[in-house]
């Protein structure tokens, strides 16, 4: 049986459902799966408080953020025709974090304001614009990655500056832990802060399907097939920046999901860049849910930050992809 014939999307939804139940169950206070699900819909005393107020928000955030990372990762890889593309290529997560830190640090708003995602999204958009402006339209992957690295480093330096100049040590700790990326202590307010932006970003990325297909044959051919490549670029980059900004604003920096998810998906969809999108988003959601369960299960004094775990798992994967495809990555125009 060919991999591409498997009922992929229903299967992934089932996996996500199973992991969601696990995410409601796993934690310091043990709650049986059936009770956890019941506690969602009816009052089960303390179990309801734990499940509804603590575990449900982080479960929903893991799904939303994993989804948008997987989706935008697949979109950007399709756009740049490169399996190493991710929002991190544009330095977007660091820039989003910088944007958010800037508004928190300046005392403009608290950590639960609608301004926060906007600031993070602006940061992400600025980084993408800067990378594209520096690298130029016909940049090779190497130039693009180097520009992204530089912009990401600049944003990181800005964040470090804000931290080192902060007069309040508690604020410093808060910023540092937030940057590491976590779903700990998130409430439904965080979900409502991120969800509308993630919805908009999903719409933008998903409206690019036919253009992405055509782009598999290069920009010239795509245009000759009637694809509006400029519009496609705008849709995907805006979608990626909005999705990254909203995610970073509520959960900090969580990397590599957008890189890994499309790789796991592609063989199941016959490598079609458009058909990679939705399953890749679902794989991203499943990965982040699993990682969020794992950080709660790994024995440690304080919970391991999920951003740290995804980086520890993601970087070797990144290196593996480079090692496997280095020959063709040398001078491939983006």
């Amino acid at each position: 049986m060919r991999l591409s014939r498997l009922p992929l999307i229903p299967g992934l939804i089932l996996v996500i459902a199973g992991l969601s139940v696990a995410s409601l169950v796993v934690g310091p206070a043990p709650i049986a799966p059936l009770r956890a699900v019941t506690a969602l819909v009816s009052d089960q005393g303390s179990a309801t408080v734990v499940v509804r107020d603590i575990r449900l928000p982080r479960t929903l955030l893991a799904i939303l953020i994993g989804w948008i990372f997987g989706l935008t990762g697949a979109g950007l890889q399709g756009l740049l025709r490169n399996p190493l593309a991710d929002t991190a290529v544009f330095g977007a997560p660091q820039a989003a974090a910088f944007g958010a830190v800037l508004v928190i640090y300046s005392g403009l708003v608290g950590a639960l304001s609608w301004l926060l995602p906007f600031a993070a999204i602006l940061g992400a958009l600025a980084s993408v614009a800067l990378v594209v402006a520096v690298a130029g339209r016909r940049a090779t992957v190497v130039v693009l990655v180097l520009s992204g690295l530089a912009v990401g480093s600049l944003a990181g330096a800005g964040t470090s500056l804000a931290i080192s100049l902060s007069p309040n040590p508690f604020a410093v700790t808060e910023i540092v832990f937030w940057i590491l990326g976590s779903f700990e202590d998130r409430s439904m307010v965080h979900v409502w802060l991120a969800a509308p932006f993630i919805l908009v970003a999903s719409g933008l990325v998903l409206s690019s399907t036919n253009g992405l297909r055509a782009l598999a044959l290069g920009e010239e051919t795509a245009r000759s097939l009637g694809a509006n490549v400029m519009r496609l670029r705008l849709l995907l980059v805006a979608g990626a920046a909005i999705g990254t900004g909203a995610s970073v604003a509520v959960a900090g920096s969580i990397g590599f999901v957008g890189l890994v998810a499309p790789h796991l998906t592609r063989p199941f969809v016959g490598y079609d860049p458009a058909r990679t999108l939705v399953p890749s988003g679902l794989v991203g959601a499943a990965l982040l849910l699993a990682a969020d369960c794992a950080v709660r299960l790994i024995p440690s004094q304080t919970e391991i930050k999920i951003g740290v775990l995804t980086a520890i798992l993601g970087v070797p994967f990144f290196l593996w992809v480079i090692a496997r495809r280095k020959a063709e990555l040398v001078e491939m125009p983006a």
């Binding site: 297909r213 782009l215 044959l217 290069g218 051919t221 245009r223 000759s224 458009a274």
Partner: protein, 265 residues
């Protein structure tokens, strides 16, 4: 039957005037070969004819309709364009790559209309790639991949087919196979234009040759009218022998003419 006309077509690439005041007509049923030295503006001409470049002046019209006024999809249904050195980014199955030619018809790989499926099958058949349908296109040889990309252009069933150096980097056998496919497309009533560097091959397959130099049409007409030793000296900067063998024109480049200094790009 579709005729593609350029009138007073000028294109600027940055500061450079890549094409100036080109007048030409590509006629249905004919295979037109565009030749010229490097930097003459051949690719620019093809891209402008395909509607992928905005002219600085003049116009391109398809049966009298300006392509600048056509919607993207309508233009894509009318003019198929095969760029130089086309690549395939993902290990897509051959049949899916060819089916991408149906995008301008609102169809996509995996959900083709009966007419679309027929067009894809016919295109694969035309380039002789039956049996390759489910192979990953990236794993094929250069010659096979060039045929896959040609089949993609054929699957659009556009009345006009423009191909930029479709036989560059192909071995002699694949060159003949691809050019034969293009000639058969022309004989079937399509308007076909191809850029080529091999002048003997150009002479053999062309119904008409357009010689481009420094962004202008230097000569056009039948191979024997255009590919003269004098023209090759003037426009290519080579001393060449042009002879006949069994009804075919043979162009042998002897040596470069040193006194002519050309701006290569």
């Amino acid at each position: 039957m579709t005729e593609l006309h350029a009138r007073g077509l000028s294109v600027d690439l940055g500061e450079r005037h890549a094409l100036s005041k080109i007048d030409l007509a590509l006629r249905p049923g004919r295979l037109t070969v565009v030749v010229g030295p490097n930097g003459a503006g051949k690719t620019t001409l093809m891209r402008a004819l395909a509607g992928l470049l905005e002219p600085a002046g003049g116009q391109v019209a398809l049966d009298g309709q300006l392509i600048a006024n056509m919607k993207d999809a309508e233009r894509a249904r009318s003019i198929a364009y095969l760029p130089q050195g086309g690549t395939i980014a993902w290990p897509l199955p051959v049949i899916d790559v060819v089916a991408l030619g149906r995008l301008p018809h609102g169809e996509r790989p995996g959900s083709l209309s009966p007419a679309g499926r027929e067009a894809v099958t016919a295109a694969i058949h035309a380039v002789g790639l039956e049996g390759f349908a489910s192979r990953a296109a990236t794993e094929l040889s250069g010659g096979e991949r060039a045929r896959v990309l040609l089949a993609r252009a054929l699957a659009t069933q556009a009345p006009v087919l423009l191909a930029d150096e479709p036989v560059a980097a192909l071995d002699p056998r694949h060159q003949l196979v691809v050019l034969d496919v293009l000639r058969r497309q022309a004989r079937a009533g399509r308007t076909v234009a191809v850029i080529m560097h091999d002048l003997t091959l150009a002479a053999r397959f062309a119904d008409e040759i357009i010689l481009l130099d420094q962004g202008k049409v230097a000569a056009s007409g039948g191979p024997e009218t255009v590919l003269t030793e004098a023209a090759l000296a003037t426009h290519f900067g080579i001393q060449a022998h042009v002879s006949r063998d069994g009804g075919h024109l043979i162009v042998v480049a002897d040596r470069p003419l040193p006194e002519i200094h050309r701006d290569d790009q």
